[in-house]
Structures are given as structure tokens and as C-alpha cells.
Symmetry: C2
Amino acid sequence: MDLLKQKIVEEGSASGKEILKVDAFLNHQLDVRLFEAMGEEFARRFAGQGVNKLLTIETSGIAIAAVVAKYFDYCPVVFGKKNVSLNLDKEIYTSEVYSFTKQTTYQVMVSKKYLNAGDRVLIIDDFLANGKAVEALKDIVEQAGATLVGVGIAIEKGFQKGGKELRNAGVKLESLAIVQEMKEDGTIVFD
Amino acid sequence: MDLLKQKIVEEGSASGKEILKVDAFLNHQLDVRLFEAMGEEFARRFAGQGVNKLLTIETSGIAIAAVVAKYFDYCPVVFGKKNVSLNLDKEIYTSEVYSFTKQTTYQVMVSKKYLNAGDRVLIIDDFLANGKAVEALKDIVEQAGATLVGVGIAIEKGFQKGGKELRNAGVKLESLAIVQEMKEDGTIVFD
């Protein structure tokens, strides 16, 4: 998706060979026009698949999924929670995630009320790197007996293994920008 | 806002006299059509105020602010972060928040790049109870030398002190539903 790649080049920055900062438009300050364009593109790529629920995870996926929902006929968005809250239901699906960025393991939780066997789920997230968060959401979709239609990602780090593993597992994975390499001089190379 | 009150009555539930569960549409599963209606209403209530930035805080405010931005001419949304991340800038505004729900104190952080003296800021959040999160965002707006146009809240707990304190401080606070009381029998009384 050219608009997203252009944003990454113009407003993003590579910090070393692994960290891509896109907090100007994707995960701290948010460019909602861009998210709408991403929604149109996801709708095109997952057309006719009967998606009736978007599933994402705290934190940065939430804004994207909320804006994208409009392009899937305003289907409900559910986000996996990372923190226990007094307000969370007792009946929950849980799955474990290892975060390389934060170097900790955490549980992602989804109330059983909001994910059902009849659901056709599209997982949405801002980044795909090692794929641990998406794996956990996929696991929760399976626990619910729902159907995973696919995974829609804004930025995939193509040099990390998450994308390859999901594709090898037969998952329909659509990433709007795949970063193949971040060079020492700051150049970002797309797939 | 009648649509929101109706949703609270039909899909929310009071758990004791203090906890209002609205995870069916506001803070776990998200009803994006409702958020759009909320955006229209906020735009009406803050019309002509020159809002050019929405400021919110992890987690539940993010989805609302992202959808609401369209009604403020797609102005940027910035969300305060609660967790230190490798990707966060070194130059940040911080303010301390005490969470009664989680019974902990945490720092909210906003990169200095995304909040400037010229900004006219509308703070958006899902709930207002004791007002600690909004107070911290207001403090950050002041640190940046920006102008606080007002505060737009989905659900205010009118029986807690946050709303009164903000109004007494001269803040233009607009809450789309004000819950005055939650009775033992589960009845929810609005202002």
C-alpha cells in the first residue's frame, strides 16, 4: 500500500536494524485518514469472506481496528486485554504472549461473551514481527471454535519470522507494508 | 445523549453501587456506529472552538478518540502511554495518575513532539469517575503550553467527584451520559 509506505519513509525512522519508529502516525499520534485508507484496502483484500468480527489486542491495534470496522459493515471490534481488571468477566479465553519489545510474558484475555463459534474473525494489528501476539489471538479464535478468516497487519517486519510462520500455517495474512530491511544509514527497504 | 443511555440500560450492567460494566459496547467489545454518533455529538458541543488535536489515554479512550477524530476534520489523535517502551521518545511530558480501579499509581507519558504550544486540545475518554486520568492529561496540556478547549467523556459517574472538580476549575466538560446512581436492584439512574 503506497500511502503507508510513503508515510513510513517520510515520518518514520529506523533506530538500528530492528526498531522502526512510527509513533508520528501509527502508535502514539494517530493519522485517522491513513487508517481509513487502510480500512478500504483491508476490505478489498478480504472481500467476500463474510468477516463479522474484528479482533485485536491492546494497545496500538485498537485504534486501527476501530476505524477499519466501518469498512466491514460496522462489525463489532473486540480487543484482547493484557491486564486484569475488576470489570473483566470471569469467563474468559486466555493465551500467553512473549513480548520481545518489552521482554516479558503476559496473558491476553477475551471475554467468552464476545467471541462465538459462529464468528468469522479478522485479526487486525499494527505490527507483525515475531508474531507472538497474533499467535495468541489465533489461539483464542480456535478456543472459541470461531473461524479465522485472516490477519490484516499494517507493517510486517519481513526480516522476522512471524509472517513466514503464519503463511506456512495456511493463514491468509495481508500486510499493507512489508519492511524487508532497515539499513545502517536509515534507509528502509520494502518487499 | 439518548442513544448512549439506551445502550447503557440495555447492554450495560451495574455491579454493586460503583462498578458499571459496559464491555459489550464501550471498552472490550466496541460498537463503532455508537462511537460515530458520539463523535457527531462532541462535534456539536465543541463547535467553533478550533479543536486541532484530540488527547486521550490508554486503553479504552483510544478507540473512541480515533473514531471521533473524523468529526474534528480528521485532526491528529495522541494517546498518553502508561508503559515505558523501547520505542518511546526520550523527550516526554509525564504526569502521575492514581487509578482507583486498579489501585496503583502510574505515569502517563506523551512525547513532546506531538503536543505543542499552538495546539487547541480536546481531551476524550470513556469514563470520568474520580477524574485522575483527565487531571493528568490536563496537566500535560498545561506543561506543553497548549490550550485545553475542553473534555469530552462518554460516561460520567456523577456520584463521584471528578466531574464536579473539573467544572469548578472552569473546564468545559461535556459528558454524553451522566450516571447519578446505581441502585441495589441494578437500576441505573441518569442525571
